[in-house]
């Protein structure tokens, strides 16, 4: 028992670990227990992919405070690299995702290393530039992305159904990663960088390395998400993968859910997906404006989005309980 205690890092709380395992177990069993329709089953699979991407975006956007409006670039790189390798049909599909992820991570590091020196709005605007430039190059690079008409992947009949569990465990890993980063030494360093980058360096925080590391990880995870997305649809094209709307979606999910919190972005992703499903059915033309309005409301009234609301309620309950 003491050996186990030594293995457990001091920031990992047993109750959190237990809650997490239970949740994953429930989600794993969900399709078996509830006889989901193929449509619902697939929608949840997609949701897992987006939850993971939003959590990863938050590592650089929320923990480090460097808001990226260009993460679609890595989503696309991961997706197209995975798709290309899948077309060659040499390796198992999950390996294509891994390679896509590494490629995306490397790409993120390549443009990120010089631009992470920039603070705040300057970095964010640079990411818009990177995202759009990547999209343009990708759209016209016929050889790699198939140009505007996109790429088709070899269709694997049973895969789409099984993707539910692959995506779930990918999400689980990313969630663990989120928790680990936030509560570990790296996370504390990032928070200090976010607060005052010079003072952080003045007490020994390796600013360049920390930011590079977290951008690499964030990019790689978003790249893997792109790869799974590609396997899911068996067809991808540049405008969808690299588009500004794609980049925006990550920002929206994280901010609405709670930018900078550990699991907030996952909540935001759930809301985002549900809203989109609802709006596509009833008001297809309004979803962009609705997200914009939500963004404005979050910034003005509750900077931590849904997580912030939950914290407020929790505080109020705790205050009431201690008052009685």
């Amino acid at each position: 028992m003491s050996a186990l205690r030594r293995l457990r890092p001091d920031w990992l709380s047993p109750s959190a670990a237990a809650a997490f395992l239970v949740t994953i177990g429930l989600l794993h069993a969900l399709p078996h227990v509830f006889q989901l329709s193929p449509y619902d089953h697939n929608q949840i699979t997609l949701a897992f992919i987006f939850l993971a991407a939003a959590l990863a975006w938050n590592w650089i956007g929320g923990f480090a405070g460097q808001v990226s409006f260009g993460h679609a670039a890595m989503f696309g790189v991961g997706g197209f690299v995975a798709a290309r390798i899948a077309q060659a049909q040499l390796v198992p599909f999950w390996l294509t995702w891994l390679v896509g992820g590494v490629a995306a991570g490397a790409y993120g590091l390549a443009w990120g290393h010089p631009t992470l020196r920039l603070r705040g709005p300057y970095f964010s605007i640079a990411t818009i530039g990177v995202g759009e430039a990547t999209r343009l190059v990708a759209t016209y690079w016929q050889g790699f992305t198939g140009g505007a008409s996109g790429l088709a992947l070899p269709i694997d009949a049973g895969l789409k159904h099984a993707l539910y569990w692959y995506a779930l465990y990918f999400l689980a890993l990313v969630a663990i990663g989120s928790y680990a980063i936030r509560n570990s030494r790296v996370g504390l360093g990032l928070m200090s960088i976010k607060s005052d980058v010079e003072a952080a360096a003045d007490v020994g925080v390796p600013v360049v390395f920390s930011q590079d590391l977290v951008l690499f990880l964030s990019s790689a995870v978003v790249g893997v998400a792109g790869g799974i997305y590609a396997s899911y649809f068996s067809f991808i094209e540049p405008t969808d993968m690299f588009g500004f709307d794609r980049s925006i979606s990550f920002v929206l999910m994280a901010v609405i859910g709670g930018v900078g919190t550990v699991f907030g972005p996952a909540l935001g992703a759930v809301v985002f997906v549900l809203l989109r499903l609802y709006l596509i059915a009833t008001y297809p033309h309004l979803y962009l404006g609705l997200y914009g309005a939500l963004l404005v409301l979050v910034v003005l009234f509750e900077p931590l989005g849904i997580s912030g609301l939950i914290f407020r309620v929790a505080r109020r309950l705790r205050a009431q309980r201690s008052a009685t």
């Binding site: 001091d10 030494r185 504390l188 360093g189 928070m191 200090s192 976010k194 607060s195 005052d196 010079e198 003072a199 952080a200 360096a201 003045d202 007490v203 020994g204 925080v205 390796p206 600013v207 360049v208």
Partner: protein, 256 residues
């Protein structure tokens, strides 16, 4: 052997020479006071030593190992840490977490069990009861102590204190002086302190160095320096003149 050696360091910002060929030495277990009128280049020199800004020329050595040219965080890892004239706590972290950052990222020897080390440093400066509070609620002197605790948590051999007494009342100043002496005596850390409150500097320093217009104009024991005519005119010149000389005013404005 000197612990810290500043060798002919200069720093210019455009046309303004903030630090002008300054050399000084710090030995083990020494408190070196650094005084001089505003705009003399003291904080700039600290920034150069700490690695926040590069020197225009000259070098800095720690135990004869070159540290000039290293980025700020590597200088901290080597064992030199500075505090800031205007305190800069991490406002999104608690008091304890602030100090933990120092403990986690300081010199390698300091990194075992950062939480415990942070608690120890907070107790040392007298902030143990504020550990879970955010820094914003603290008084100025408490924030200065927090900054000191955070710096100490990095496990330094050399501590650069920048006007750590500014804005605190005399009683708090005496407490602070006691702490500084303990840091030297019990922990063997050498200190360079920039200070305007001459009484404090003189009482606690082993030696004093005086800067004016970026140049070192005097150094020696406190009693000697205070009587040095060059030093007196540098200070009296500031006190008696109704309007500052334009040069000095420009220096204060431009040198960070």
């Amino acid at each position: 052997m000197s612990l810290l050696r500043v060798d002919d360091v200069s720093k210019s910002f455009g046309g303004l020479r903030a630090v002008d060929h300054v050399s000084l030495e710090l030995v083990e277990r020494e408190i070196l006071g650094m005084i001089g009128p505003n705009g003399a280049g003291k904080t700039t020199l600290f920034s150069v030593i700490a690695g926040s800004i590069p020197a225009s020329s000259g070098s800095v050595f720690l135990r004869e190992r070159r540290i000039s040219g290293l980025p700020a965080n590597r200088v901290v890892a080597a064992g030199v840490v500075r505090t800031h004239q205007i305190v800069r706590p991490f406002t999104n972290l608690t008091v304890l977490e602030n100090v933990m950052v120092g403990a986690m990222f300081g010199s390698p020897e300091s990194r075992g069990n950062p939480r415990r080390r942070a608690h120890e440093e907070l107790s040392f400066v007298g902030l143990a009861d504020r550990a879970e509070h955010p820094p914003l609620g603290l008084t100025l002197v408490a924030r200065k102590r927090l900054e000191l605790a955070r710096a100490l948590a990095t496990g330094p051999r050399v501590l650069l204190l920048d006007e750590v007494m500014a804005g605190v009342n005399p009683a708090e100043g005496i407490e602070m002086t006691k702490l500084i002496r303990i840091i030297r005596d019990q922990r063997g850390i050498s200190i360079i302190m920039i200070e305007h409150i001459l009484a404090a500097v003189m009482s606690v320093s082993d030696r004093v160095v005086v800067l004016d217009y970026g140049k070192k104009i005097a150094q020696g024991k406190p009693a000697e320096v205070v009587r040095d005519p060059k030093v007196i005119s540098a200070y009296l010149g500031e006190q008696s003149a109704a309007a500052k000389s334009p040069q000095r005013a420009r220096r204060e404005e431009e040198a960070p």
